[in-house]
């Protein structure tokens, strides 16, 4: 596409303007450089090259400085947006920051975090995986990948990355980060019902906890998680340490009470729970456990410190209470307890109770105290059957059920 009248020189390809008969380049007197020796020209080229290097170096230095500044500027904007809970805006800002500092891991990490907060998990994962390939041992990257897996419900994936994060490298406070990551892992495992795995992680956590400075809240937190995995003894130990370090640790009294209650140590449970309820009267769970605990202490015929007479009295009272519970339950479910032959489990157990009734008296038991365990076994059967048929029982019956459970555990 040449200007009208112009043409290209067939020899050198240069433009010959309209009206010029010859090529201005080919016919121009040749410059002085044309007459220099080849070797001299090579040296001149090298000198020019060195000059060009220097100029480019200067330009590149300024360019990098500008890029860095722009990257920092957009990163700050991203941080501000993230703090203002505007993840979408933060994503755009971090994207722009990465244009100016492409391989900045911190920017990529923040972008991934912003993407997660913007619920763009797929995109976040790509960035995190790229970072992971670059630094497979990076604790932060593994933690974020673990969180991503957790959010997606990919249990094995999440556990793998959480574990990588626990054993990974951290820029600062590695012990604290490892502890937090392990706690997060335990919470994730508990949320997924992986109790066995959670318990082993918690045991590892205790080892880690011992290295760190004493922290009552941390012990209480770990105690709560032990409660969730139903390792009540370790839970009780953790709560006790927490209370020793700081007697008013929130939740520690209630936790210790619950742990003692579940172990069957009702005397101690009562002590902890009374304290918990006095500190926080709104804690209904502790109040109820305290109530049942007290009932257990007053109803348990197997308690060590009571006299034989009291033991027999409690046995008879328990028998009458259980029998009444069965009758009440049968009535509510319209079950005829007198029907023959007995077809339902409730009818069977009531028939057994009917047979036992003559023996479950003060006089009879005083004559033969060895019958107490047999009577109590029937009491437990009646309570369990009533619970299965009619659901959650009133507090005195719950107390009997708890006694049954504790006794079963002790026998086992």
């Amino acid at each position: 596409m040449l200007p009208e009248g112009d043409r290209l020189c067939p020899r050198c390809g240069q433009l010959i303007p309209a009206g010029h008969p010859e090529c201005p380049v080919c016919t121009a007197p040749q410059g002085f450089l044309w007459r220099l020796e080849r070797e001299t020209l090579v040296v001149i080229s090298l000198v020019l090259l060195a000059l060009f290097f220097a100029i480019t170096g200067f330009v590149v230095q300024r360019y990098h400085a500008t890029q860095k500044a722009l990257g920092g500027h957009w990163y700050q904007r991203g941080e501000a947006a993230l703090n203002a809970n505007q993840p979408q805006k933060a994503v755009d800002a971090f994207h722009t920051a990465l244009v100016y500092s492409r391989d900045n891991s911190a920017y990529q990490m923040r972008l991934a975090e912003a993407l997660i907060r913007a619920n763009r998990l797929g995109e976040a994962e790509v960035y995190l995986r790229t970072l992971w390939v670059r630094e497979p041992g990076n604790g932060t990257v593994n933690l974020e990948l673990g969180r991503l897996g957790a959010r997606r419900g990919e249990v094995s994936e999440a556990i793998r990355y959480y574990n990588n994060a626990v054993f990974g490298s951290w820029d600062s406070d590695p012990l604290d980060h490892r502890l937090e990551t392990r706690i997060e892992l335990c919470q994730f495992l508990l949320s997924k019902g992986e109790r066995t795995q959670a318990e082993s992680e918690l045991i590892a956590l205790i080892a880690l906890e011992r290295i760190l400075p004493p922290d009552a809240a941390l012990h209480a937190q770990i105690g709560s998680m032990f409660l969730q995995v139903q390792d009540y003894r370790r839970a009780l130990q953790e709560f006790q340490i927490a209370l020793k370090l700081k007697p008013n640790t929130p939740g520690a009294w209630a936790g210790a009470g619950e742990a003692a209650y579940e172990i069957g140590n009702y005397t101690e449970a009562r002590r902890y729970l009374e304290k918990a309820v006095s500190q926080n009267p709104a804690d209904l769970r502790s109040a109820q456990q305290l109530e049942i605990g007290k009932l257990i202490l007053s109803l348990d015929p197997f308690a060590r410190w009571i006299s034989q007479r009291e033991r027999i009295r409690r046995t008879v009272a328990a028998f009458n209470q259980a029998r009444a519970r069965v009758e009440q339950c049968a009535q509510s479910r319209s079950v005829n307890l007198q029907a023959k032959p007995a077809t339902s489990p409730l009818q069977n157990v009531f028939a057994e109770a009917k047979k036992m009734r003559p023996k479950a008296t003060m006089r009879s038991l005083q004559r033969d105290p060895d019958l107490i365990p047999n009577v109590m076994d029937l009491v437990f059967q009646m309570e369990q059957q009533a619970e299965q048929t009619c659901g959650i029982p009133p507090d005195p019956d719950r107390a009997l059920l708890m006694i049954a459970r504790t006794r079963g555990a002790t026998e086992r």
């Binding site: 112009d6 390809g13 002085f32 044309w34 090259l49 170096g57 100016y100």
Partner: protein
């Protein structure tokens, strides 16, 4: 090209009129007096050294060029990823106006494809590329790409490299042959630095510009590419052009999806080529005054697209990176691919200087990402990553649009640094390339050069051309073949009934000679009838051929011989056939005149007819 130093050398320095000029003249005179050791007398050595120097200069130029584009973009469009609507509308159109003025008045040769201009330098202008083209490309492309025109920096980088090489080659008084070869050396350096991928650059130049692997040129090209990339990495870092997420082939069934990507990519490249080839001659045919407005109009249209899809503005590397990281939905990716095709066709056809490589990669990444996204919806169990599809898509468009299948495969490997992507790339690229070859017989670069009125050699045509071989022309050896141990009398007896005059003589050593009936009779008259032929025949050996050799070798070998033997490669006494000059000419005469070229002429004449009709 005659040596200007020899023809125009004045005897003394012209008298300087000012003090400055006098000082300059004195400096030059002193330089002239310097006598350095003549270490570069051997031109081959100088050529290789020059390749390194060219590589370094090209690398530095590309570094500065990339920085200029970036600075221009930040200054004109702002530092955000998406410019404000006002900037998106105003900047590309105003910059387009400025670019048009610069191109028309100062740098008329910067229009068009740098690849073709480098080829033109090699095949038409004896390696001459004016240095003003380098400056022009630098300035106009930095402005156009930086202002948001949908073009890329690779093609200009390639041409700048070629221009620098040409200037250095001429200044260093290289021979005409070397000056012709030096432009591709610079082109490889420029492209290698632009892509930060030396292997792909070397392959591209060999595949598209020079079309052969001669050791001398290859060495220089490799040296220049390596040195330019080294400079680039020194200044701009080791990072590849794209940050490619990790890839592995999750399921063999995924390959079917990649084959589908090949089909879609081939189709997309066809649309792209057809649109460019449709728009460009039509815009060129408009009145001359419109040349001032075309880049501005293209810029305005791109700006309008850019308000909604800012990704289509500029080279788009950052957005390719985002597509590789699965940052767009598949629907958006389809829109981006469509509008990038439109925007690039507008920019390029309007005469705005800039390259097509980056837009090709952009479109490929978007098409690939879209196919990957669709695969995720319909076949989630295959588990392929969108990034993998985007990466393969880039190779697919490169193979089908630019028609460089080898380069496309190596480019993806080099850019990703991941060998496990090779299978998808090979499958998809091959399918796309074959679709493009079938429905667009003329490659883009050839089409562009023909639109510009030049007929540069097409490397693809050379590759695809059916080569005539010796076996296509040779005859079976029905004539009598003599053995060197036979006596003259025996030979006369055996050849007596033959209608032919010339006979081949086979030697035990594997050599072949020839003898005429007349010579045999003469020997008999001289009383040498009982002598074996090996003793009495003249010593000149016949040249021989093998059946698989190209026929032009036969043409060069045959000389004045009436016929020469065609022998087995593993047994030199095993005569496979004979060939004469008449056989060779008959074979050339019978060969169909290249179908390909006929198709090209047909297509070009159709286009011209269409334009004329309008």
């Amino acid at each position: 090209m005659t040596d200007p130093a020899a023809t125009n050398a004045p005897k003394a320095i012209p008298p300087a009129s000012t003090a400055g000029e006098r000082r300059w003249a004195t400096l030059l005179l002193r330089l002239k007096k310097i006598r350095l050791p003549r270490v570069f007398l051997h031109e081959e050595g100088l050529f290789l050294l020059l390749a390194v120097i060219i590589g370094l200069f090209s690398g530095l130029s590309v570094v500065c060029f990339q920085i200029s584009i970036d600075w221009t973009r930040i200054r004109l469009l702002g530092s955000a990823l998406s410019p404000s609507p006002l900037r998106a509308l105003l900047v590309p159109s105003l910059a387009g106006l400025g670019v048009a003025v610069m191109v028309i008045h100062f740098f008329p040769r910067v229009r068009g494809s740098g690849v073709n201009q480098t080829k033109a330098a090699v095949y038409i202008y004896d390696g001459y590329i004016p240095f003003s083209t380098v400056i022009g490309k630098f300035l106009t492309c930095a402005l156009s790409i930086g202002s948001g025109q949908s073009l890329g920096p690779e093609d200009p980088s390639l041409q700048m490299g070629a221009g620098i090489a040409s200037a250095l080659g001429r200044r260093l008084h290289l021979s005409r042959e070397k000056v012709r070869l030096i432009a591709p050396v610079g082109a490889a350096a420029g492209l290698a630095a632009a892509f930060n991928a030396p292997i792909s650059a070397v392959l591209f130049v060999i595949e598209e510009v020079i079309g052969n692997w001669s050791a001398g040129v290859l060495g220089a090209i490799v040296l220049s590419a390596v040195s330019s990339v080294m400079v680039l990495r020194l200044f701009l870092g080791e990072e590849p052009l794209f940050r490619v997420p990790p890839y592995h082939l999750a399921h063999p069934g995924e390959l079917l999806a990649y084959a589908f990507l090949g089909v879609i990519g081939g189709g997309a490249s066809l649309i792209f080529v057809k649109l460019v080839c449709y728009l460009r001659p039509r815009l060129k045919a408009l009145p001359r005054w419109s040349y001032y407005l075309q880049p501005a109009a293209a810029g305005l249209l791109i700006g309008i697209i850019g308000i909604w899809l800012p990704q289509v503005m500029g080279a788009g590397y950052d957005f390719i990176d985002q597509a590789l990281h699965d940052q767009f939905t598949w629907k958006l990716l389809i829109f981006l691919a469509i509008f990038k095709i439109i925007a690039t066709s507008l920019s390029f056809s309007s005469g705005t200087p800039g390259g097509m490589f980056a837009p090709t990669l952009f479109i490929g990444a978007m098409v690939g990402g879209a196919v990957g996204g669709v695969e995720h919806i319909f076949f989630p169990h295959l588990g392929g990553t969108v990034g993998g599809f985007a990466l393969v898509g880039m190779g697919v468009l490169f193979a089908s649009f630019l028609r460089v299948p080898m380069t496309s495969v190596f480019m993806v490997l080099e850019v990703s640094g991941n060998y496990s992507i090779i299978l998808p790339v090979m499958i998809a690229n091959t399918i796309a390339y074959l679709i493009s070859l079938r429905y667009q017989p003329v490659p883009l670069f050839d089409m562009l050069s023909r639109q510009d009125g030049t007929d540069l050699p097409s490397m693809e045509e050379q590759r695809e051309r059916e080569t005539l071989r010796v076996e296509d022309a040779m005859r079976l050896p029905t004539e009598v073949v003599l053995r060197a141990e036979e006596t003259v009398a025996e030979a006369i007896r055996r050849t007596g009934s033959s209608p032919h005059e010339f006979f081949l003589v086979s030697h035990r050593s594997g050599d072949w000679t020839g003898v005429t009936k007349e010579t045999l009779r003469g020997l008999a008259k001289e009383g040498k009838g009982e002598s074996p032929l090996s003793r009495v025949l003249p010593g000149a050996l016949l040249p021989w051929l093998h059946p698989d050799q190209p026929l032009d070798v036969a043409l060069r070998q045959i000389g004045d011989w009436p016929l020469i033997p065609v022998i087995h490669r593993a047994d030199f006494n095993n005569l496979q056939g004979i060939i004469s000059l008449t056989d060779i000419l008959a074979a050339y005469g019978a060969a169909p005149d290249k179908d390909h070229r006929s198709k090209i002429s047909l297509e070009s004449s159709r286009q011209e007819a269409a334009l004329g009709g309008e």
